[in-house]
């Protein structure tokens, strides 16, 4: 007999306003598994990202397999399990962008800011994410900088755009 952990002990502090909000949302959705994405959105809105103990709690309450919850979170680029930076840089790594040098963009950002995809700079200013085909293959390689689509981006372009983001930041 192999004794295992249980998800039953997954819990969150019930007096936390964010937990209350989450409970209300899950109840409103009737604890339906279909509402998982909605519920995750809600949680991310209040937490800024999706901490693992929040995911454990959601899996327990909705009685969903943990791997399904984690898989869903990792599938959509708008979910993050790390706290996001003040500026987000989303590099498309879909086939078209990959072929046109998306990896070079990621490498350059890593070289310049020591930032791997999914990470945030130590000062919390820039968060780097990678996406799978953002549906703008004609503009490959494409990057979304703070919700703005950037077309045919070169590594140099990207670095200068990110640097100017940081500068405006310092001024304002």
């Amino acid at each position: 007999m192999i004794v295992r952990n249980s998800l039953q002990d997954a819990d969150l502090p019930q007096d936390d306003p964010r937990v209350k909000q989450l409970n209300v949302k899950m109840k409103k959705e009737g604890y339906k598994p279909d509402a998982l994405i909605e519920i995750l959105h809600n949680a991310q809105n209040s937490y800024g990202y999706l901490p693992i103990n929040v995911l454990r709690y959601i899996a327990k309450v909705l009685r969903l397999p943990p791997s399904r919850v984690f898989g869903t979170v990792s599938f959509y680029h708008f979910f993050s399990m790390k706290s996001k930076g003040e500026h987000t840089c989303l590099v498309c790594t879909g086939t078209a962008c990959y072929v046109k040098g998306a990896q070079k963009l990621l490498d350059k950002v890593e070289e310049k800011f020591g930032l791997k995809q999914g990470q945030v700079t130590q000062d919390g200013k820039i968060g780097l994410q990678a996406a799978r085909c953002i549906g703008a293959c004609g503009l490959a390689p494409a990057v979304i900088l703070d919700d703005e689509v950037q077309a045919k981006v070169s590594p140099e372009d990207l670095i200068s755009k990110l640097t100017s983001k940081l500068e405006t930041h310092e001024q304002g």
Binding site: P65, P66, F70, G71, G94, R132
Partner: protein, 236 residues
């Protein structure tokens, strides 16, 4: 009462039930279609693109495992184009992870290796990605080696649909896809796995194996999953 349809596969006229897939009908008639993610008894998901066939009247290719037959359908399974695609698909399986057959538990008993022989693979024309992959040895009985995984999802479906445990799922997308246990946590720390071994039986490669098996001694029985599901339907 199921409707019957007439279809033609590689010129052979066949009468078949309309609820069947092209793959089912082909196999019942001893026409070979290569598959990888299909495992009879599990829900078909059309993930591997190996079973692609041509349908007359369409320039597209269709996955035989997920496409239902229809009246007067004319199917081609063995054209030059299909063979080319099968070969590409197979090469990509090998290029995507680190398949070193000589040191694999499944050497000599591997569906991927068999597939390589079937399509006459002599070289891989694509650059190997050589990803860094984890090997999870934390489970007391089994090992999960991501190096040899082809993301067919048979383990996921066997665990969820047959055992009902749902330990596995996929995380990420594209070339970064990985099979995960629970919250991308160690298999040995799973809150869902019952250690039944069905995923190991379902896996076509050496990605999942039992610790009791030594190198080159793999002995998998995916048909065990098929039999289980057949018996389950019988209401014994």
């Amino acid at each position: 009462m199921m409707a019957l349809v007439t279809i033609y596969i590689d010129g052979k006229k066949i009468i078949a039930g309309s609820e069947k897939t092209i793959l089912e009908v082909a196999r019942e008639n001893n026409i070979e279609i290569l598959t990888m993610c299909h495992l009879k008894g599990l829900t078909d998901v059309g993930a591997c693109r190996l079973c692609m066939v041509e349908l007359e009247g369409s320039p597209k290719l269709f996955s035989a495992c997920t496409t239902k037959v229809a009246d007067n359908m004319i199917v081609t399974t063995n054209s030059e184009r299909i063979r080319r695609y099968q070969r590409i698909t197979t090469e990509l399986f090998f290029a995507e992870r680190n398949h070193i057959c000589a040191v694999c538990v499944s050497n000599g008993a591997c569906e991927l290796q068999d597939l390589g022989y079937k399509v006459g693979l002599d070289a891989i024309r694509y650059p190997h990605l050589f990803p860094q992959c984890e090997v999870d040895t934390s489970h007391p009985l089994y090992v999960m080696d991501q190096n040899r995984c082809i993301s067919c999802s048979r383990c996921i479906r066997a665990c969820a649909e047959v055992e009902g445990a749902y330990n596995w799922d996929m995380m990420n997308r594209g070339y970064q896809i990985r099979v995960i246990s629970d919250f991308n946590t160690l298999w040995g720390e799973s809150t869902t796995c019952t250690s039944c071994g069905k995923c190991v039986q379902a896996c076509p490669t050496g990605a999942l194996w039992a610790k009791s098996i030594v190198q080159g001694q793999q002995d998998k029985h995916p048909e065990f999953i098929t039999d289980l599901m057949e018996r389950r339907k019988m209401n014994l």
